[in-house]
Symmetry: C2
Subunit: 215 residues, 2 copies
């Protein structure tokens, strides 16, 4: 059966591409609170993501504790300082250190996203040979959230400069959950079609045709 | 600087949510070819995805060889038969076997998506403690492709019932690439807002609020 499906016209396709262009990884937030209704919208859209076996393995943990926020920010700064030592050249190390890599202290909302490695839903379909599909499904949900945020003028920053095991312990979640992302959510200080790392000369976008091969 | 950014209105937000609702994992394709211009659009949109350190680690391999397609389809059927043995109860095993889990033989386009584990772009930013961020970035690109496809009426099916190492060998790609997805791309035989696994009684969607926790 084909249900009464919506038709998406070329104007909408163009607007979607514009949304993809203008979605940024945000590290500079203003302090305005995100309305509760918008937070609900973001999570509802996140959970429309595809998942292997329809297992819906994503687990969103909204962080409200100021103490946890402080701990997380210190942990990330420590990990970032350690990571800077991987750059042997002083110039690149200084460049790395000059980048603002997260807004954990300022973002009005912090969301830790976990993957349940043993979800009750899905009955194991599709993960016999690729158990990582559960984690990939969780990433898809994060991307839905990200786009649903941007369309509302809300920015998201994905922080990965952290020890996922340390953060999992900090947040006291079930042992079979693994951390996929720590998200900073709030209104961005500025809007741009250019990634911040490109603006700051770290790494520019490369032509998409360079990513295409054939067999 | 805030550039001349587009404004996304509530009508567009609603349409985006409708797109998320109507994006399906497609296993039934008709045979109409996908226009080349659309294939370009899909890849261009895919490469607008966020990536850790702006490393753009995604590598798309468009499969044109009929021999490779046949090999892949057999491999997946074998793996699926093996996976069915994981269901101890006969009823569930029969249910699993009754599901159509891929359209590798019929889909007009097959795309293997790899992650380059040592991309020249990005200079290692953000992967000191979470090297898996490269793979997650590749998943984000796949999701962009998926949405860009659906908005054009084109369906995508993500096949994970395969041995990623075997497929990597089959496709003769660099050793530091790892397989993230095999995608079937083409026009879907039907449109639905309900996941096929839900239609067939395997696994329904669960309320999003069940996926939300607080700390």
């Amino acid at each position: 059966m084909t249900e009464d499906a919506p038709f998406f016209d070329p104007a909408f396709a163009a607007q979607l591409e514009s949304l993809l262009h203008w979605r940024r990884d945000v590290r500079h937030f203003d302090r305005r609170a995100v309305p509760e209704a918008d937070m609900d919208d973001l999570l509802r859209c996140a959970c429309l993501a595809p998942s292997v076996g329809n297992s819906q393995p994503w687990r969103f943990v909204r962080l409200r504790s100021a103490a946890i926020r402080t701990m997380l920010a210190s942990h990330i700064d420590d990990e970032s300082a350690k990571a800077s030592l991987r750059y042997a050249e002083q110039e690149q190390r200084d460049h790395y250190r000059s980048l603002k890599l997260h807004g954990v202290r300022e973002a009005p909302e912090l969301m830790a996203v976990f993957c349940d490695g043993h979800p009750s839903a899905g009955h194991g379909l599709g993960i016999a040979t690729m158990p990582e599909m559960l984690r990939y499904s969780t990433v898809l949900a994060i991307h839905n959230l990200w786009l649903a945020a941007r369309v509302r003028g809300i920015g998201v920053g994905w922080v990965s400069i952290l020890d996922p095991q340390a953060v999992t312990t900090m947040l006291d979640v079930p042992a079979h959950w693994s951390l996929i992302a720590l998200l900073c959510i709030g209104y961005p200080a500025e809007l741009s079609a250019t990634p911040e790392l490109e603006q700051r000369g770290w790494q520019a976008r490369e032509p998409w045709a360079d990513r295409l091969f054939e067999r």
